[in-house]
């Protein structure tokens, strides 16, 4: 019998980034007892790294903007595999959620007439991203954190959830341990909201923090929920490539929004060379028009650097592959050039992009107001996730909800920049609201005591094993192989090799040995994370194998074009009765007549 403490809540929220905090605030405002579990300290979640802004059609800068245009942009970016109802709710509710942040103390940059300033971003037709310089995520998380601490939410910092618990079909809580002492905690709850973020740590080059080990995806899958769109992993075009220790670290799209241009080693702005047909009408075809757009000329079309992330990332990969890259295997991103256009360019850059200035100055000895940066693609965002109901965010498991990056649907085959922060607050709020409602309408589930004992036993196994297998080695090998075999350009044989690799690493993970004791032991934490990393890696790979076309973020060398037939389905993964992953193709959610009309009127 394992020793553990039982904690009682109506709603348990797992994850304290933007989505988790917003869910906890909403559930609490709905009058239920809320627990919030976070792997790190409060206010440190990956949301702090979001830079560019939060997309919301407030029309403060361009009065032509409205939710219909935002909806159409989101659907086009997602290649119409998005759940249209989610895209609709998101576009409609984002402005109100942003204004709410202001009511709670957020201080966005201002327009001349004193309203929230909005900036241009890739794939968004009008200036739409509310922002605070290039630290919008920090502003958002701090605002939610500082608002939330006065609401009576029980915050459990530095706790990791090992498994979800069920009573029959419905959710009953979660089994966790506190990282500081290694003590087991059973969170008994009527409803659980997963808000655990993404999976970037399954890859070697990533902009994601250590927490992004796919916990929510994996916990939901093992609890019987289905996962959707797992083949769609976004590789952000601009990560740092030098020095090696910061390879992958994000360089905000805001650099391009403020006039930054991409050049190869020959000095050519190669993005003009390959503008996809469906974006031709709204993309500038010369440098002069592109600059006019940057400085706010509403009649000018967007620079090609602001095309969707998947396209820009592949163009960069092509330049590098064909020998036109920069010295350290990237291409050049140049914002310093705007000094030809603006009298006080250096001050302007420091003011609009302070974190980027700081990041390059400190980590790469480079002054971005004077010299071009070297950048290359980095694993950035997971479009796929827990398959949820568009309005309530509930998964297939009654009482289990998911919001933010660990949920699927809003972004389809690819996400637009700025649509992540808005996703967090729109659907975080909805998940919190509906989880509270579920908790109020249902009795307390029974705790599965046998299961609790079994999970505790499994969690402690790494301490009892003999041998030399290291969890760190397994993790590093997985990351390196996933990058090489299931990365930005994919092909059949390599993904098959990846499946075999995952099988091998699974059996090695079952032998991983941990030294020391349970108190703040990173070796143990790494060993327990492996299950999640391996689960999401397998899901990404088998979904990638099944989608025999290139669409959005999923690019296959052996099927380089879109297949109209493949536009008709999403790939859904569930755990089969035998414990193996089962994959099925389900028809995409059809557009309503109204949706079709909106998309039609925004074609041009």
């Amino acid at each position: 019998m394992a020793e553990y403490q039982v904690l009682e809540h109506d709603v348990l929220v797992i994850g304290a980034g933007g989505a988790g905090l917003r869910a906890a605030i909403e559930a609490s405002a709905n009058g239920v007892k809320v627990g919030l579990v976070t792997k790190s300290l409060l206010g440190k979640a990956h949301t702090v790294m979001a830079e560019g802004g939060v997309a919301a059609a407030m029309a403060n800068v361009d009065d032509r903007d409205n939710w219909r245009v935002h909806f159409a942009d989101t659907m086009r970016g997602g290649q119409y595999l998005n759940h249209p109802r989610m895209a609709e709710l998101h576009a409609k509710e984002a402005p109100e959620r942003v204004r709410e942040l202001e009511a709670w103390g957020a201080l966005f940059d201002r327009t001349k007439d004193g309203r929230i300033l909005q900036r241009n971003f890739g794939g968004h037709r009008y200036a739409r991203l509310a922002h605070v310089g290039d630290r919008t995520g920090l502003e958002m998380i701090r605002t939610l954190q500082d608002h939330g601490i006065h609401l009576g939410i029980d915050v459990h910092m530095e706790h990791t959830v090992v498994d979800l618990l069920k009573d029959g079909d419905r959710i009953a809580g979660a089994f966790a341990y506190d990282r500081e002492r290694g003590r087991f905690k059973v969170f008994h709850a009527k409803a659980v909201v997963l808000a655990t973020g993404g999976i970037g740590r399954a890859f070697q080059i990533t902009s994601n923090s250590w927490e992004y080990t796919g916990d929510g995806h994996s916990l939901a899958y093992h609890a019987g929920a289905s996962l959707k769109d797992m083949e769609f992993v976004q590789f952000h075009p601009t990560g740092m490539v030098w020095p090696p220790s910061v390879r992958g670290l994000l360089v905000t799209e805001g650099v391009r929004g403020e006039g930054g241009v991409l050049r190869n080693k020959e000095g050519r702005r190669f993005m003009f060379d390959d503008i996809p047909d469906n974006y031709k009408l709204q993309t500038a075809d010369n440098e002069e028009e592109a600059w006019r757009y940057t400085i706010g000329d509403k009649n000018a079309r967007r620079p090609p650097e602001l095309l969707t992330r998947d396209h820009v990332a592949r163009c960069i990969a092509r330049e590098v592959r064909e020998g036109r890259g920069s010295p350290h295997g990237g291409v050049f991103l140049d914002i310093a050039w705007i000094k030809e256009k603006l009298p006080n360019a250096a001050e302007h850059i420091k003011r609009k992009l302070p974190s980027m200035y700081h990041q390059f100055k400190q980590l790469a000895d480079l002054d971005i107001t004077q010299e071009p940066m070297e950048i290359g693609p980095t694993t950035h965002y997971m479009m796929g996730g827990v398959n949820v109901h568009p309005d309530s965010q509930m998964s297939d498991v009654p009482g289990l909800f998911a919001a933010g990056e660990c949920a699927a649907g809003l972004h389809g085959a690819n996400r637009l920049g700025g649509n992540s922060l808005s996703d967090l607050i729109v659907f975080g709020k909805r998940a919190g609201e509906f989880a509270a409602k579920f908790a109020k309408e249902h009795s307390t589930p029974a705790l599965p005591k046998d299961r609790v004992d079994a999970v505790a036993r499994i969690a402690l196994e790494p301490f009892e094993r003999q041998g030399t297998e290291s969890a760190y080695d397994i993790q590093h090998e997985l990351q390196e192989r996933m990058q090489a075999l299931v990365g930005i350009v994919r092909r059949q044989e390599e993904m098959e090799e990846a499946v075999a690799m995952i099988r091998r690493l699974e059996s090695r993970a079952a032998k991983a040995v941990v030294h020391g004791n349970r108190e703040y032991n990173p070796g143990w934490h790494t060993a327990l994370d492996l299950r999640h990393l391996l689960t999401v890696s397998e899901a990404i790979t088998i979904a990638g194998l099944d989608r025999k076309e290139s669409r959005g973020a999923h690019f296959r060398d052996d099927f380089p074009n879109k297949d109209p037939e493949a536009s008709k389905f999403n790939i859904v993964i569930v755990k089969g009765p035998d414990g193996a992953m089962q994959l099925k193709r389900v028809p995409v959610v059809p557009l309503t007549e109204e949706h079709k009309k909106i998309i039609e009127e925004n074609q041009a």
Binding site: A45, M49, R110, G114, L117, M157, W242, V246, G267, P372
Partner: protein
């Protein structure tokens, strides 16, 4: 077109890391000899040691990009973020010491218990905005939000709390909230729309008077917030104006305020 700088003079080699190992304040330094390459930061070296020599070496970190403020420690005695301290800024001819922050209770190895900070924040009066305009929106000019935005750059690494002698040496955690929360209070007090009054709390239980302007906090701030000059001194002035202004003092005698 030029590429990146080479990363300074120290392009790699070997170093001895002298890391504090132990639990709840008890322990000792342990030496780890390790190789490092150009461009590495201290946190990279710590991770390397963790993966190869000391699997259970406890270290708190998160974003590794200077944005979350988790990996605070004392490197060669200086409070710093491990993820933003490059190896080429460090003299590797001598052992490099890495210790946990001293102003908070020790947990294990490089990890300290910073929960006190979270408790302090809860005691500060929350943001209370004035009513928005008729259209439901607030209007603020960029010039008026600039100084508050400086304070809101804070990543809560607590290095300023660590270096502050009122906390570090005198342990006045019960009567002084420390530079971080003076910055936090200043951000609220100077918010163009805020209507709450925090001056009485700052004067009494939050102890703004304990700060004697040595500016150590400003020096260690990784976000380069001018903590003392822009946040603390204006708060001290507000307290002085309210409680030590002779005219107001007289007024209070008569009103009993």
């Amino acid at each position: 077109m030029s590429g990146h700088g080479s990363g300074g003079t120290n392009t790699g080699g070997s170093a001895v890391f002298r890391i504090w190992r132990g639990e709840r304040g008890k322990g000792d330094f342990a030496d780890y000899k390790t190789e490092f390459s150009g461009g590495m930061v201290v946190l990279d070296v710590i991770h390397k040691i963790q993966a190869s020599q000391a699997g259970d070496l406890a270290v708190r970190w998160n974003c590794k990009a200077g944005k979350c403020g988790s990996c605070s420690a004392e490197i060669n005695g200086m409070p710093k973020l491990m993820c933003m301290t490059r190896m080429n800024q460090i003299d590797v001819t001598k052992p490099v010491t890495v210790e946990p922050m001293q102003a908070f209770p020790h947990v294990r190895d490089l990890v300290t218990d910073v929960s006190w900070n979270y408790e302090v924040k809860k005691r500060i009066k929350k943001y209370k905005p004035e009513k928005p305009g008729a259209d439901g929106q607030w209007r603020m000019q960029q010039d008026d939000v600039d100084r508050v935005q400086e304070f809101r750059k804070c990543i809560e690494c607590y290095l300023c709390q660590d270096v502050c002698h009122v906390l570090r040496d005198h342990h006045h955690h019960d009567k002084f909230i420390g530079p971080r929360f003076l910055v936090y209070s200043a951000a609220l007090e100077m918010h163009p729309l805020d209507t709450a009054d925090r001056v009485p709390d700052l004067h009494a239980e939050q102890g703004v008077g304990f700060c004697n302007i040595t500016k150590c906090c400003t020096k260690v701030c990784p976000e380069s917030i001018t903590i003392t000059d822009n946040a603390i001194i204006p708060l001290k002035e507000r307290v002085v104006d309210r409680y030590y202004d002779p005219v107001r003092k007289l007024f209070r005698v008569f009103t009993g305020g």
